[in-house]
Symmetry: C2
Subunit: 319 residues, 2 copies
């Protein structure tokens, strides 16, 4: 089971890092990328890559590989159509930052049964094969979806891949993941863009910028298309948290303008950050994948901060 | 002139780091702190500190030391009253993050003639003597005010102290400094607080938080009183940039809600961040402090990104 080969579709920052990490863990891994440049670069680095999607998918089907979708959201649908034709029985996961819409796409092409969504919460402002790093996932949370449909055996394969890549597994429902991702990933990107854009209009600002500005705008260096893609794809979840943030800022604005103290915002923000710093990561050890009620149990454990650090046992019987 | 002793009033993060840095540069430096604990800690580290303000100020008057105000804004007025009594002729500077209101306080007690405001743009989320670091200012911009009143000899003393501490000097008018500081320091703090507070309300958020959240909320760990003090003291300058940011976010919200692209915000933010990364720091070398029009010349150079990396010459004649 741990010898399941891995087929990485898309060799950008995440896919390329995953290929390196899985390889370093001793897994058989091969990959596809649309652009020949990335394929050549991957080969030059000693990896097994092709620019021919059918070649990669046929090999995946023959070897019953776990297919990892590591392409941008807009490229998902045509790729899923090809997988349905060439490798419909392969277990399937993804590494996309929005989970519900990916599950919807997978459902639409009829591949949901063998699909378990994933999202490694790691990245840099860089992109492309060359930016990849086999240590990118070290210690990072890697969400593995525990939606109602998921098959325990595919789930366990994705769990093992994430662990092999050095991540810790956070089990979560797709909808809960998307609400959290909107808050801790998409919203920070929008705030960074707004901060950078505002400062760009104040003449002396860049001359005086130091740590708080540099940190607060770091993710504004991310390629605009990536930021748009993740925020727009998760708009339903971004809207309420963006509203909440705008409301907090507008109240602070009113207080400042009335020469009243900023206590409400500042105390709430500080308290939340302190709670975050102290947030525990209890290890999930008691659940067997495939046991009665295993999905709800894992979702609850993930919500409480629980993480999987070494592979959970898998029951042979299916629910 | 470079042997001017330095009297540091307040031995917290900034004052304590300044004392260490000036000492490491070979300067004679002594200091005062209200709490005996910090004084004892400074002494234990080999520094010359007292908890008796009159002792420190008498020594400053006797040695014609440069007095550095490193106390919080609310403590400024009583301290300035004491300086007026005990050391009214000493050159005076400060390290406070808001410049116009400090100049107003100094003017109110009649000490403006010997005062040149300063602001080292460095800090951490820590505070207190123990958090100090003699390398805190290495390469950091240190604003030295070039307001209309400033005396060239005092200005040069403050410039040399900043350079001795490893900083680069950015000459700027107090009002322009405050507008920029609102944008690149106070606004990022408010955004970090709002982001942390919003995430604190979303159950799975902390469990999934990674780099963009950690960076985006780092300064929310700053002591709430410090954040309030600097934002509230600079409210006039914070309000317009906070309004601008809220407006940018509200427009993004409208676009998201209408399923329109986020292009405006994301492209503007990305472009500004890229400009910031490429922002040059030309060295200011041609101005002589005290020459005709030197203040306006330095203010213009600072606005254009110019920094002083080694001491400018000082004309002996006063304007």
């Amino acid at each position: 089971m741990t010898n399941t080969p891995v087929c990485v579709v898309g060799l950008g920052l995440i896919g390329g890092s995953l290929m390196r990490a899985a390889h370093a863990a001793g897994r058989e891994v091969f990959g596809y990328n649309r652009s020949i440049e990335a394929v050549q670069a991957a080969r030059a680095d000693g990896f097994d890559a092709t620019e021919h999607i059918d070649e990669a998918l046929t090999r995946a089907a023959d070897s019953e590989a776990l297919i990892v979708l590591a392409v941008p959201v807009p490229a998902l649908r045509p790729m899923l159509e090809r997988i349905r034709k060439a490798a419909p029985d392969c277990p399937l996961t993804d590494v996309t930052s929005v989970k519900s819409c990916v599950a919807d796409e997978v459902r639409a092409v009829g591949l949901l049964e063998r699909f378990v969504g994933g999202h490694p919460m790691a990245g840099t402002a860089q992109s492309g094969w060359a930016a990849g790093d086999r240590r990118l996932f070290d210690g990072a949370p890697w969400v593995v979806s525990v939606d109602d449909h998921v098959d325990p055996h595919v789930w366990a394969m994705v769990m093992r891949l994430a662990l092999d890549c050095g991540a810790v597994v956070v089990p979560a429902r797709s909808d809960e993941h998307d609400a959290a991702a909107a808050t801790i990933s998409h919203l920070p990107h929008l705030l960074a863009e707004a901060l950078a854009a505002t400062a760009g209009e104040v003449p002396l600002a860049f001359a005086l910028a130091a740590g708080s500005f540099r940190d607060g705008t770091r993710v504004a260096a991310t390629a605009p298309d990536l930021v748009r893609a993740m925020c727009e794809a998760n708009a339903d979840q971004v809207l309420p948290v963006l509203d909440r943030t705008i409301d907090l800022l507008a109240r602070a604005r009113s207080a400042l303008s009335a020469q009243k103290p900023l206590t409400d915002l500042v105390e709430a923000g500080h308290a939340a950050r302190v709670r975050y710093e102290r947030f525990g990561r209890p290890e999930i050890v008691t659940t067997a994948v495939g046991a009665d009620n295993w999905r709800a149990e894992l979702a609850a454990a993930g919500r409480a901060g629980g993480v999987i650090r070494s592979a959970l046992p898998v029951l042979d019987s299916r629910e």
